[in-house]
Amino acid sequence: MAFESLSEKLQNALSKLKGKGKLNEKDVDLAMREVKLALLEADVNFKVVKNFINDVKKRAVGSEVMNSLTPGQQVVKIVNDELTKLMGERESKINFSSSPPTIILMCGLQGAGKTTTAAKLSMSFKKQNRRPLLVACDIYRPAAIKQLEVVGEKAQVPVFSMGDKINPVDIAKAALEHGKKNGNDVIIIDTAGRLHIDEDLMAELENIKNVLNPEEVLLVVDSMTGQDAVNVAETFDEKLGITGVILTKLDGDARGGAALSIRAVTNKPIKFVAMGEKLEDLEPFHPDRMASRILGM
């Protein structure tokens, strides 16, 4: 029961409407209640769900539906429309600077997948015949630098590090110089995982950002995240102005309601999805495919 797909529930809820020749507000209310439960179970944020249901209801009791010959089907269409809108419609790519190097700052909570994803990105750039550089700015987590060196070697991408005794802001500065000198055209900065409420570490990130002026600030988010995803994303966005999101661990079976929610509250695009631990397991984000996933189709 608990893991019945959202799709099934939505279809169930909506099929009751589909057949009806005429709709009243109560029919719509009942169906929307079921839609609400299904979305919440998929970890879509509470407030996002509330707004979503309100938007759909407003349209559903409007003349566009009530005057239609097939009102039930109209409601189904509205739900689909609004879901797609929430998810963002088009694929969004990396912004490369017209005067290289392009700088990409990775950030996010602990264990989200930043280091792994940084290596994956660097490998994909290498395949595009670019000259990426990975930068080890996590001086806190035990063996974080070593981890980046190992994955960098696998990706055959150089790793710039200065050990764990130098301030990450200074490491970032030095990395930029190093990258320019060595003709690196994309510089990817791996940073330590941090809580959005950790003021010192958030200030550190702001400083790194100010020094580097990156083209992309990518928030890495675990797709298994629940209701808190929105708080996290909002704070990172507020402090750093994120340019996009990478959703990791989609090779699991989480519905990924967090994805929907983050897009809805920050209005920042999901740029990539990570589908495994191997360095090849990174794909551009396709909103329509994600919609199908959340809908379980």
């Binding site: 608990a2 909570l109 264990g111 809580l195 409420i197 298994m224 995240t225 090779d251």
Partner: protein
């Protein structure tokens, strides 16, 4: 928020608190239904009392496992197997736990059963240094079951009180990786049958409803006996453990509240529930 009258608005507000704490909509609706019954039965009139009633309702649910919250590691020897999906905090928890147990005067050994992830062995090695305990490790990419086997032999030879075993993070829907974990579990059963056994599933407090299926699948292959809820120092409340505990009948034993070596605590029901309503 004001809790004036008892009306649907009040119950909606309470529902919102639970759902946004990741309690899950099904569990939330169950709890709210029971709450409504109690409000009637007890002829409660003040909204503030309703909130207390709700807190107590949740505390009652969690307290059902109160007597099982201690780690099953006495008398020694004992083995603690630490499992979970990727990045939840397994290795860090082992560092903290090793430190705590050593502070209690126990002889502790750790085994580096994650031979897969980049620099996982080095990471655990650093924690073993910090905690002041020895580590048994093989090369990267070697068979993790063999590492655990060696850890057990070493623990026997050294008369270790507690052997703590790290494992690679794995998603519960990966058949081969779950089979690998089952193999590790069977090595433990076969080679260390006389030891107390604790299998800890580490759950990140930011996790949503997916934690339920995670726990069920791990339960299948390695019979988890306790939950460690990590990253409670953030803003996530970890409400999914309420359903975890009732549906799997497995208690939350420890919580992680930071990245430092002293940031591992015993789970406290009152604190946990109060934090949901803060």
């Amino acid at each position: 928020k004001s809790y004036g009258k008892i009306d649907n608005g009040l119950f909606d507000e309470l529902e919102e608190i639970l759902v946004t704490s990741d309690v899950g909509i099904n569990t939330t609706m169950d709890i709210i239904e029971r709450l409504k019954t109690k409000v009637k039965e007890n002829k409660v009139t003040e909204a503030i009392e309703v909130k207390e009633l709700l807190k107590n309702e949740i505390k009652d649910i969690l307290n059902e496992k109160e007597k099982d919250r201690e780690l099953n590691i006495e008398p020694s020897p004992a083995i603690v197997l630490v499992v979970g999906v990727n990045g939840v905090g397994k290795t860090t928890t082992i560092g903290k736990l090793a430190y705590n147990l050593r502070e209690e005067g126990k002889r502790v050994l750790i085994a580096a059963g994650d031979t897969f992830r980049a620099a996982a062995i080095e990471q655990l090695g650093e924690w073993s240094k910090r905690a002041g305990v020895d580590m048994i490790a093989h090369q990267e990419n070697s068979d993790p079951a063999a590492v655990i086997f060696d850890g057990i032999q070493a623990a026997k030879a050294r008369k270790t009180d507690v052997l703590i075993c790290d494992t690679a993070g794995r998603l519960h829907n990966k058949k081969n990786l779950m089979n690998e974990l089952n193999k590790i579990f069977r090595v433990v059963e076969r080679e260390y049958g006389d030891a107390r056994r604790e299998v800890l599933l580490v759950v990140d407090a930011t996790t949503g409803q997916n934690a339920l299926i995670q726990a069920k699948e791990f339960q299948e292959v390695c019979n988890i006996s306790g939950i460690v809820l990590t990253k409670l120092d953030g803003t996530a409340k970890g409400g999914v453990v309420i359903a975890l505990q009732t549906e799997l009948n497995v208690p939350v034993k420890l919580i992680g509240v930071g990245e430092g070596i002293e940031d591992l605590q015993k789970f406290n029901t009152d604190d946990f529930v109060d934090a949901i309503f803060d």
